[in-house]
Each structure stands twice: as C-alpha cells, then as structure tokens.
Symmetry: C2
Amino acid sequence: MQPASRRITIIDVARQAQVSTTAVSKVLRNAYGTSPTMQAKVRKAIAELGYRPRAAARGMRGQTYTIGVMLPDIRNPFFPEILDGLTESLRDTDYQVLLGPGCNGEDAEARVTEAMIDRGMDAMALIAPISPAARLEHIAGLVPTVVIGRHGRSPVYDTVTDDDTAGATLVVNHLADLGHRRIAHIEHHETNPTRLAEMPNAIRAAGYREAMRARGLEIDIVSTTYTQEGGYLGARQLLDRPDRPTAVFAGADVVAMGVLEALAEAGVSVPHDISVAGYDNTAFAALGPISLTSVDQAGHQIGANAARLLLDRITDRRRPSAQIKLSPTLVARRTTTPPRP
Amino acid sequence: MQPASRRITIIDVARQAQVSTTAVSKVLRNAYGTSPTMQAKVRKAIAELGYRPRAAARGMRGQTYTIGVMLPDIRNPFFPEILDGLTESLRDTDYQVLLGPGCNGEDAEARVTEAMIDRGMDAMALIAPISPAARLEHIAGLVPTVVIGRHGRSPVYDTVTDDDTAGATLVVNHLADLGHRRIAHIEHHETNPTRLAEMPNAIRAAGYREAMRARGLEIDIVSTTYTQEGGYLGARQLLDRPDRPTAVFAGADVVAMGVLEALAEAGVSVPHDISVAGYDNTAFAALGPISLTSVDQAGHQIGANAARLLLDRITDRRRPSAQIKLSPTLVARRTTTPPRP
DNA sequence: GTGAAAGCGCTAACAT
DNA sequence: ATGTTAGCGCTTTCAC
C-alpha cells in the first residue's frame, strides 16, 4: 500500500511538462513571460495530474487568493443578498470567499478578524461592524478592507453603504402621501457617539426626523431595540397613548414583526386601524400572510460594489479611499393604506 | 518612516525570550518537552510583542487550526443553530471556524470544498450536501469530515443527523391526536435514488407514510418542491379536491408559508378550516402573526456533536466512523387545532 | 529538556 | 522567454 498519497506539487507538474517550476508558477498566476507554447504544455500537465495549488504555500510568498467576509449576526437577514453580490462578482476570478461567523460583540468581532488576518486573507469585507473606527483602521492597515453598511469614512478603508436617510425619507413620504399625519418611529436606542454617527439605525432615525420636519409633521419616536421584542414593547407604548399614531415606521423588519404581534394582540387591525412599515425587505416581509411594506436595500449591488473595491485595492493599496452610497427602494405591500377618514 | 512594519515572527519571540524557535513552537502547540520556566518566558515574550502565529506558515508543516464548514443555501434557516453549536464547542480550542458559502448545486459544492481543501482545513463539516456519496468519501479521504443532516453512512466520514422519521411521526401523531383523519403531506419531489435514501425531505415523506399507516389513516401526498411557491401550488392542488384534507403537513416551514398564502387567498381560515404544520421551526414560524406549529431540530446539539466528532477525528484519523442521530421536538402553535366537528 | 538544521510548496528576484 | 536560487514562517526530525 502506498504511503498516504502525497499531494501533487508544482514540481510534479514541472517535471511532467518538462519546464521549470517558475514557469508553472507563472502560468498559474498569468504572469508576464510565458509563451503560448509553454502555457499549453503546463496547462496540459496540470490537467493530467489534477494539480491544485496549495493556498497556504502560495500565501507564504504571495497571495492566498482568499477574501474574508466578516458577518455580523448570521441571522441578520440583510446579509445573504450582499454575499450573493460579492461571490457572484468574484466567480470568474481566482479569489474565493470565506466567511467568518458569529460575531455580535466587539470581542467576537476582534477574534474573527484576527483569525482572518492570521490566515492571510488577501482582503476583507466587514459587514456592519460595531468595532470602534480605530480598530477598523488597524485592520485596514494590515489588509485591504471594505466596510459595508456603516456610515463614516476613513482614508484607509473603503465603504459601501445604503442611503439610510433616503430610506427613512421614502417611508415617511409614502405614509404622508397616503394621508397619515401621526407617524411614529421605533428606533434602536443608541448612546455611543461614534455609533450615533455611523450605524444605520441611528441614520434611519435621523432621516425620519428630517423627513417629518420637512413635511411639517410632529416627531414621535420610541426608543427600544432592533429585535422582535423591541418592536412589541415599542408598540405597547404607542398603544397606551391617548392619541395613538395612525402609522408606525419600524426601523427594521424584525421590529415590525413585534409591532404586528402587539397590534394583533390588542385587537388593532392592520392596516385598517394602523399602518405599519418596516425596513430591510427581508424574506418574511414578502410572505403572503404578512405582506409588510418595507425598504429594500440594494443588497446585491452592495456586494458587487464591495467586490470591485476590494479587487481594486488589492491591485493598488495606496489609491485614495472610496465611499459608495447606494439607493434603497420602497416596496409597498398590504400593511400600509390611507388612514381612516 | 519604517518600511511597512514587518509582522512579528517566531524568531522575534525566540530572541526576546532568549530561547530557540523550536522552544517557542513547542509552547505554541503545548507540545512535549518544555519546562515551566521556559513556558513562562515564552508566553511573556509573546504577550509583550503581541505575536500571533501565521496560519499559512503553520499549515506548511502542521495544522492550520481552521475548520471549514460548507453551507448549503445561506438562506436555509436551519443552519444558524448548527453553526452556533459548532463555534461554541470550539470556542475554547485553538480552532477557528470559517464558512464556505453559496452552494446550491453540485458544481458550486465541489468548488467550495476544493477551495477549503486547498486552504488546508484541518477538518470539514458539510451541511446537507447534495453531492454523490462517492464525492463525499473522496473529501473525507483527504481531510477529516463530518456530514450533517444527511442520512446514509460511510466508513470514512462521520454523520450527525436529526431523526426525520421521528419528526414526521411527531407531526402526524399531533394532528391525529387532535382528531384529524385527512392529513395531507406536501413533499419535495425526489427521483435520484441516493437522495431518496439519504436526503431529509425523502425521509420525512417516508416517515409520514409510515406514521399514517400506523394510525390506519389514508396517505395523501402532493409532490412539489421545498419552496414557498411549492407550498402555494401544493395547497392549490389540495383545495381543488372534492374531499379537502382537514390538516396539511408541509415538509418545511417555507412550504407552510406558501400553504398559508394559498389558503388565505382562497378564504380558507387557519386553523379553523384547515390546520397547518411545518418543519424546521424557523424564525418566522415563531412570529406572532404566523405562529406556525413546527418541528424543531436540535440544531445546537447537532453542531456541538459535529464539533466533538471533528476534534476526535483530527486526533485519530483511523477510528471507526460514528453516526449520531438526534431527536426533534414538536412545537405546537396556533396553526393547528382539532378539526371542525 | 533543549536547540540546530532541514524542509513544507510556492513565488520573487535575479540570472541567463 | 526561461531557469536558478533563495527564502516566506513555521514544524519536525534528530542531535545533544
């Protein structure tokens, strides 16, 4: 019995193709200085032997051809679209995407990003990171980085965001155009000053304020959290008011779910008594029995743009940083109608 | 300005601690042959310098301390729990989990698994893979592998599954106990013989058949797909029958969503006219406005067991393969009640 | 218990 | 255009 069949290496390929290992390496990387003849020989040998380069060995000198994507909470429904956009854009390159899971919290985030750096990622995409900007810049100093879904710019990393101000405005205008005047907003409570300036939830709340002001409507904000429970509790607060709102803008779809639950429990009919809108256009917003009006972030495009920025920056690490902002759209469904006369 | 600060290496640590690089390496790996004194010196130097080992370099000779998890469709709501169980079990080890995304299809699956092998994963977890068993064995021959959520055993890889037969039985018994006699099942159509024997959807359908037979009830299966549309179309078929069922067991929660939509559209009240049960106990099953009766797979435990098996097998690659089967539980909610008298 | 030295599989710098 | 050679940062013999 043969001793645990050794993996095919570049040396085997070189021997088979009757060329040097350098030649093989160059063909692998489409590098300069290879004649078509040699390329053909090498590719033939690679195919015959079923050779596959070892990323670790490549990484010792050059690249690993791996792009690390740090996910926030995996359950965050806003992320699959981004990921699709990313992987699709990378499909025809030699780069492979690997995901770092299970963050939720600065420590976990640090652990995952460190792990990815240790593993020689050629570039990293950080989706909605909560780490302080200084930490993000530290990472970006070590490896090309794009930060997704977080406002706030830096000279060392690129950003791709969805325009949350515009999204909030879409919702307010939609509801106001339907005739609503008392439009409440349920926000995710935030005190950390950096996050107030950079995290989407804070920007949405600010956008709501501004849009309400622009329409001459009175601002009515309930501060809870971006969870189903937060939506439930927020809705309870709103129901207790003497002057109930006729429409509720929940800062996220999960929040809207909690709102719907609280309203159903209280015997309040949606949208007949109260209209409800969410944000993120998650899979369950589209579900027949729910049919929630929501804001669709251009997730796919976010991912595609992030991929482009990363490839760019791998090529030129010193180009000035770019900030890309994409526009959300409103998806009106059955949970919003004109208020009762 | 210093020239792009070189990363700290084992050599720096050795110098700082006044020991050999071998010593440092041994301490890093908790290997045999290090005195407490030396360990202390080395750890101190590591801390002082903020040294972190490079996984790629380690992988050249030894391990990369990385475990690759291949995800099926990222949107599959059944997977976060598993992942939590996995990462949690690995938290206190030196191993880091990285995810390979975006499969759906044999080709994509092959691409991701190859990429992980190329990147020197120490072990791999394949979640609900659709590749032929031969391919799984090929992978398992190269790197310790555990296959999750797919029935069918092999001498070279371990498996962790949830007992889908038991799950289907839970649903049938729940509905039959409520008094239902006409219980229909919507399955994911499957013809491939291997998948018929190994994939969860097929096992669930078989479990339904068996449980119905055991209760002396008539089998009524509609074959569509495990999608919302599949549920919608399946429900339409059931509604067109002269003798409508009083309960529908959808093979997955997404299917149940389609069923609910079709029933709502047809003016059929749930659960008053027809009871509906799903499978997977996904996040939206728990949503207030939906409140779907469903089967909860022990996702967390699946992940934890998979982690244990992988660590075991990294230690001893030749031990006989293990098959672990976990038991699901029924979560009864508002979509199931006794049939009208 | 400790360290010197030889690679792991590739790429980059330097010949030719 | 092609080949030679010297590492990348670690682990693993194998001496002592």
